[in-house]
Symmetry: C2
Subunit: 237 residues, 2 copies
DNA sequence: ATCCAAACCGAAATTTCTTCGTGAATATTC
DNA sequence: GAATATTCACGAAGAAATTTCGGTTTGGAT
């Protein structure tokens, strides 16, 4: 079944291509962890402590200023032991956000079940903002350092970042098929608009703690964006 | 004259408060350079060569991976000499984008003269994208490393980044006064929408070179954003 | 031409990341 | 449950980069 079918499918009240949806979210929230799994319980614990400590230190000092020695101390191990787990500081930095991303997608997948496309889109934007608020350290690392970094070539991470966009692409596609987002607008431009709008709110909050209430602001922005797209579709119909 | 006047002023065909506009752009495009000016011609040349070399190396390798020795080599000086000019690598990284920013604001100020608020807003967004295209190395450094960095405390740079938003705030304020942007919408949310939309296009271009034609995509996005705001204002009037 | 400050550089110090050899802890096999 | 193998941990040494320091050269005013 060519991907084009998603675009040319018939509009319907319930979101079409639910199979595509579930398999997409399935794939996204269960991306394989690293190939080499830890053998002993002790080291699974240590691995978790490294990730926790690294997240705290990276978020506090930024990747560049963070010191391996500090992270190791947070994790209660020596610096050299850390190299048994990650081959470099960069490698560690790029692994830290992955588990949170999977968690987000998993939570979203569950919350979006049995919803219309419009509700799913709204929920996605709202949950993005809300997850950033709930996991501010992670959000700092992810939105301010990882996402914009052109040097993220680590494939797992790059995939996960692209997944963020893929979900939106899927939903906007459905919305176009359902007729409430303008068909004659560039698909990627619409996605950029949605991503940009919500991310800008998140980034501003991370940098300046304004707006005070990120959940409220994210919801407002999400509702406004969707309403605008609907009006636009109506105006050009 | 309190700042509120900008908000409560009468709508008019030509943009009101042109004095405020000119003094804002004036201030923005002529932020003071560093306090200690170089004394000899030779070192003014060297300073320029450092900035040029640093921009190239930072854009190519990223701030973190860039080496002072490489930058010094590009500038044709020894590494230790570089420390006569900048007290650290970070310091240098944060100084590099400043002159380009001033140049952008200066160019915009000239281009925006004798235009309506709507034209000015459109021009601002379009020129932002276009300037990034024309100065891709600078844009990489600025949009992907500097802007999102929470650790930019260097006041000059922080000011300049905020200036980017201040111009939009000013224009949206005028547009609200003129009645073509909804008054009942949060001002900062509208600015976030504009900034986010256009930045997302720029960032995607920097990361993936898509869309191919950034100027065209930026123009499309800018026109769409403004049209949406106008429709929104009409719908809620 | 002389003098002084500014600019420059090589070498050394410092800081941080990373590797390596070895010993301790844990799991597996008999 | 002892012997063996594997995994995990660490201190010390090595490597790579930033930054400092002392002394030399250069530019420009007098």
């Amino acid at each position: 079944m060519p991907a084009k079918d998603v675009i040319t499918a018939q509009p319907s009240a319930a979101p079409q291509s639910d199979n595509g949806w579930d398999s997409l979210l399935q794939e996204i929230s269960h991306r394989p962890k690293r190939a080499t799994e830890r053998k002993q319980d002790r080291s699974k614990r240590t691995e978790q402590q490294i990730l926790t400590g690294a997240l705290r230190v990276f978020a506090r000092d930024g990747i560049s200023r963070s010191r391996i020695a500090d992270i190791a101390a947070e994790a209660g191990i020596s610096a050299s032991t850390l190299y048994e787990y990650y081959k470099s500081k960069e490698d560690l930095a790029y692994d830290v956000p992955l588990s949170h991303l999977a968690e987000f997608f998993e939570g979203y997948h569950a919350a979006a079940a049995n919803k219309t496309t419009r509700e799913r889109l709204l929920l996605y934007l709202v949950m993005s903002a809300d997850y950033a608020r709930e996991h501010a350290e992670w959000a700092r690392l992810f939105y301010l350092e990882i996402w914009p970094s052109i040097f993220v070539t680590d494939t797992d991470l790059r995939h996960s970042i692209n997944d963020f966009t893929r979900v939106l692409l899927f939903l906007v596609n459905d919305a176009i098929a359902e007729g409430w987002i303008a068909r004659d607008r560039n698909l990627y431009e619409t996605v950029a608009l949605l991503t940009g709008g919500i991310n800008q709110i998140i980034i501003t909050w991370l940098l300046y703690r304004k707006p005070r209430n990120l959940t409220k602001a994210g919801t407002e922005m999400a509702e406004r964006l969707i309403a605008m797209l609907e009006i636009e579709a109506g105006a050009t119909r």
